[in-house]
């Protein structure tokens, strides 16, 4: 389930030893191939970086320069004006308060959503993995099924349900929906992790106190450091980047940044302010990108954990 970084290093070492045995003539050919491979990968990397480069330079250009039409050129005069207006006063539909509103809303959505979804699914995963529940098997299978259904099939009933509880359009409403939709996948991730806890530890814990919650808080939670980081990063990026749930369950004052961004870009009055739009897009992308560049390894573990069921 986790990506084994050591295996890669070990593999590299083995290969080095092996290459040392190969006659020189062969090594040169391998080197030529290496150059071709690196050249091709560099070309692909350029393709991947192109959109980011274009958004970045566009966001620092003046509208006059953008009208000239050379999308790939560097700004002739650098301006941070688009960033300031995107943050403070970009218009989305009826209001012109910029993306700062969305940023605050996204943060307000993030914390309750994280707490609800992680508490709920870690307890569920723990109970299913380490305790003797007779119907655990069928229930897990049901959860597994629920992990794949499209959101649209439960959307309308959830709107009605959250409306009944009076949380529709509030931050808590969005948080509850995030907790519900992430429950299947997160539970499977937690369960797979807790399943591998050595038998002896659990047996000792049961002999010692045997209490469900005590074992959870004193032994299991302290052992969950690794998986918690992975799940946290997975959920932060998911919640921050979510559009549909924020759009559907967010009221006027609780729309996340992605929804505000989409409104800014889609509603144009008069001339499209491309530089401002690009600055707005970058502002929305910065938080998850920072997390990705700082904690990339955990991010990769998170996105592959859901895919590869060990």
């Amino acid at each position: 389930m986790t990506m084994n970084v050591n295996a890669a290093a070990a593999g590299g070492q083995l290969e080095d030893e092996y290459l040392a045995e190969v006659p020189l003539r062969k090594e040169r050919r391998i080197r030529g191939r290496s150059i071709a491979v690196i050249a091709f990968l560099t070309f692909c990397a350029a393709f991947f970086c192109l959109p980011l480069y274009v958004i970045l330079v566009t966001s620092f250009k003046t509208l006059d320069q953008i009208r000239l039409g050379d999308i790939f050129s560097l700004p002739t005069e650098w301006t941070i004006e688009p960033w300031i207006t995107a943050w403070n006063s970009a218009c989305s539909g009826i209001t012109c308060d910029g993306l700062k509103v969305g940023f605050v809303n996204s943060l307000a959505i993030l914390f309750p959503s994280l707490v609800l979804s992680i508490v709920l699914s870690s307890v569920t995963g723990y109970a299913l993995a380490l305790w003797n529940v007779r119907w655990a098997g069928p229930f897990l299978f049901l959860l597994f099924m629920c992990a794949f259904i499209p959101f649209q099939i439960v959307m309308i009933p959830l709107i009605i349900l959250t409306g009944m509880f009076g949380i529709y359009g509030t931050v808590w409403g969005i948080a509850v929906v995030h907790a519900i939709t992430s429950l299947p996948l997160l539970t499977l991730i937690f369960r797979n992790y807790y399943k591998d806890i050595p038998r002896e530890i659990m047996q000792a814990a049961v002999m010692d106190s045997g209490r469900f919650w005590q074992i959870f808080f004193r032994i299991i939670v302290p052992m969950s450091g690794n998986i918690l980081i992975v799940v946290l990063i997975l959920m932060i990026t998911n919640i921050w980047n979510d559009f549909l749930i924020g759009l559907t369950f967010g009221g006027l004052g609780t729309q996340p940044m992605t929804v505000i961004l989409a409104n800014v870009v889609i509603t144009t009055t008069g001339e499209t302010l491309y530089n401002e739009n690009m600055a707005a897009a970058l502002l929305t992308a910065i938080p998850p990108l920072v997390i990705y560049f700082l904690l990339g390894r955990f991010f990769v573990q998170g996105i592959t954990a859901g895919a590869i069921k060990g």
Binding site: L142, P150, F151
Partner: protein, 298 residues
């Protein structure tokens, strides 16, 4: 491992998850399917449409926009296989060439960290016919290049595919890298000593060994394609006309724009059926794999 002791507390702890599963998932699905057989419009009506049970479905398949969205789903699915192929090639090259591995992996994966809305906004700008890539290439004298894809209904879908491939290739690369790790060095060595060519080695040994990884990627891709919504909103908002409607977009549109509950429910039910068609093979495959794993243990 199972322990024989108190079973009451674990069941209490599981109650919220069970309630959510039965109310928010199973109950909601049944409710949506039920509504698709009623004549609900703005508000739910709980009388089954006895006159014509499949009225909503009949209208759905008579609706050009829905037919277009189904066609686009197929186009998007076929186009997205490029991302899997691309991801596999990148993974193989990175796996063999250790120089710069970390750098390339980081570059190919960063699109996955940003919102699809941001991706859509970026590519929308690149495809801008007057000021985007096309204008730049025309300025350089390449006037035969046409990159105004999003502006024309017959090519708009290809623009969405390109953006999706850009976003998703890194994800498949990461899965493929994990799969390639399972091919141990003994096999590499043996193949090299046998003098098998690189090309043959990949087509005859690596790809067959990784068929499970490919299948996983294909299923995840299919499920992702059925859910595709954000990228369409950000890039074309369904246009030009209705040419880039996809089922997810159609469903949301039927509910919010047309305020038609029954109609939206029927479209959502079709989405569920499509998902099940992809999902059932996965269940069978997972069960078979588990059985195989158990056999290898015993």
């Amino acid at each position: 491992m199972r322990l024989r002791h108190s079973t009451l507390m674990p069941q209490v702890a599981l109650a919220p998850a069970v309630a959510i599963t039965f109310v928010a998932f199973i109950g909601s699905i049944l409710w949506t399917v039920y509504l698709s057989f009623t004549r609900s419009r703005r508000f739910p009506e709980y009388a089954i449409d006895t006159e014509n049970l499949f009225r909503q479905y009949g209208r759905l398949f008579g609706d050009d926009a829905f037919i277009t969205s189904l066609k686009n789903l197929v186009i998007l699915g076929l186009g997205s296989t490029l991302a899997i192929g691309f991801g596999f090639i990148l993974a193989c090259l990175i796996d063999r060439e250790r120089r710069g591995q970390g750098f390339f992996r980081t570059v190919f994966l960063y699109p996955l960290a940003i919102s699809l809305i941001v991706t859509g906004v970026a590519w929308r700008w690149l495809f801008d016919p007057q000021l985007g890539m096309q204008a730049a290439l025309h300025d350089w004298g390449l006037t035969w290049v046409r990159l105004d894809w999003l502006a024309r209904s017959e090519t708009a879908m290809y623009g969405i595919i390109l953006a999706s491939v850009w976003q998703g290739a890194g994800f498949y690369m990461a899965l493929m890298l994990a799969g390639l790790k399972s091919i141990n060095d003994e096999i590499w060595k043996a193949a090299r000593l046998d003098g098998i060519g690189v090309w043959q080695f990949y087509t005859r040994i690596v790809i067959p060994m990784m068929k499970f990884t490919f299948l996983t990627c294909a299923i995840l891709m299919s499920l992702g394609v059925v859910k595709a919504y954000d990228i369409v909103v950000a890039m074309t908002n369904g246009g030009p006309g209705q040419s880039t409607f996809v089922p997810a977009y159609f469903t949301i549109n039927a509910y919010w724009q047309k305020s038609n509950l029954g109609y939206a429910s029927a479209a959502a039910t079709i989405m569920l059926l499509i998902t099940l068609a992809f999902f059932l093979p996965m269940v069978i495959f997972a069960a078979r794999r588990r059985r195989r794993a158990e056999e290898s243990v015993t």
